[in-house]
Symmetry: C2
Subunit: 217 residues, 2 copies
DNA sequence: ACTTGTGAAATCGTTCACAGCG
DNA sequence: CGCTGTGAACGATTTCACAAGT
């Protein structure tokens, strides 16, 4: 057994942000029956440098074989595991508007071992209906039903004004992971992980880039 | 006139990514009638350090007054201008699925001076219908109609398999800005700015964080 | 006194480049 | 010989801390 590199307590956030792309590309190679891949080849497909790929993998103590490369299937399993995808995750969509509906209908979750199980809303006109095959339930029911339904993650898609109140219900339900699409900070206890996706911000960064047209990215 | 700080050619990407939040908070302060704000106060509301805020502003040569702070309205105008929001932007949604519909229906664009003008799809069953007040047009029409409609930005919400072909049409239409929601790289000429939003990646990063439960973020 | 603007230091992330193993 | 794994160099970003302006 060798001394095995940096081996940090935590993955650098930049490395984490690249992991899903690594996994996606490895799935493609695995499906193609490719058994081994070099950092140069995989990095090329990902539009990053081979040194960066090797550094990222070394943070997770994922080792290849010198002179050969990395074993595709093993690396796929390892990255999946690092992302926590070797278990099933139940998702609840909170907010039955058009964005909530879009997330609920999205079929790309299965390949991440995630499944949307229900939609929660406060609007009595929506409660009791179905969106696709999914029931729309009263948000007030979430704390009582989260465990029974097997919900691990909530997706906040309510208007900004309603976001904090909805987040409070999610926290009371004992759910410890949240994707927040509302353009607001939500305050949660420290054991709850929140990731925010601000679509408006992306548009504004784009318009900045379009106005400042120097050709290189 | 004084010598005015770093004054880079380009804004650091990390600074750019914070600008939309700065602007949002400044709008709130402006609406509240607050005339001046210190970096300490504004930074506190943004959950960042006052040094970082001042550094970011200095990159844009936005100066405050020592002992006093920054003039709220002036700073709001300056950040809006830096983001390119002092002009109107026409947006086309490409892909009339549930995500495209959600973007088309989103009412938060007005405050960024952006407006969704039309939805483009290849599906003959959708073309000719309306989503809200917006017409669904044939994607093949995009190059012919982009100028007339005043479209500056396209939002790609088509399935991964269709993304590159749709991007090619967008480029042929002379549109130079794109938000890509498809989980794929799209290849475009260098004058076209693309920002990608990968929702699946956010979920996977969240599950990683949930599995690696050390309390701090 | 209060607060900015910014050098300098510290921290974080990426790339270089090569020793070392297969 | 090819390719990994990783120190060391480099570059980017954040924080410190304080001189200077009001």
């Amino acid at each position: 057994m060798k001394t095995q590199g940096p081996l940090r307590r935590r993955l650098p956030p930049e490395t984490l942000s690249r992991l899903p792309a690594y996994r996606k590309q490895l799935r493609i190679l695995d499906d193609e029956g490719q058994e081994v891949v070099s950092s140069k080849d995989l990095a090329f497909r990902l539009h990053i440098s081979d040194a960066q790929l090797r550094r990222d993998l070394s943070y997770m103590a994922l080792l290849g074989r010198r002179g050969l490369g990395y074993e595709v299937h093993g690396l796929l399993e390892a990255t999946s595991s690092a992302l926590g995808l070797d278990r099933h995750w139940g998702v609840a969509v909170v907010g039955g508007g058009s964005l909530g509906t879009a997330i609920a209908r999205y079929r790309g979750f299965v390949s991440s071992n995630m499944e949307v199980l229900a939609i929660f809303d406060v609007d009595a006109r929506k409660v009791g209906k179905k969106i696709g095959k999914l029931p729309v339930l009263d948000l007030a029911e979430l704390p009582a039903r989260a465990r029974e339904l097997g919900i691990d993650i909530a997706v906040l898609t309510v208007p900004a004004e309603a976001a904090q109140a909805a987040a409070d219900v999610i926290v009371r339900a004992g759910i410890t992971g949240m994707i927040n699409f509302s353009p607001t900070f939500v305050q949660v206890p420290p054991e709850v992980r929140v990731r925010s996706v601000d679509i408006t911000s992306e548009f504004q960064q784009l318009t900045h880039q379009m106005e400042h047209r120097a050709l290189p990215l």
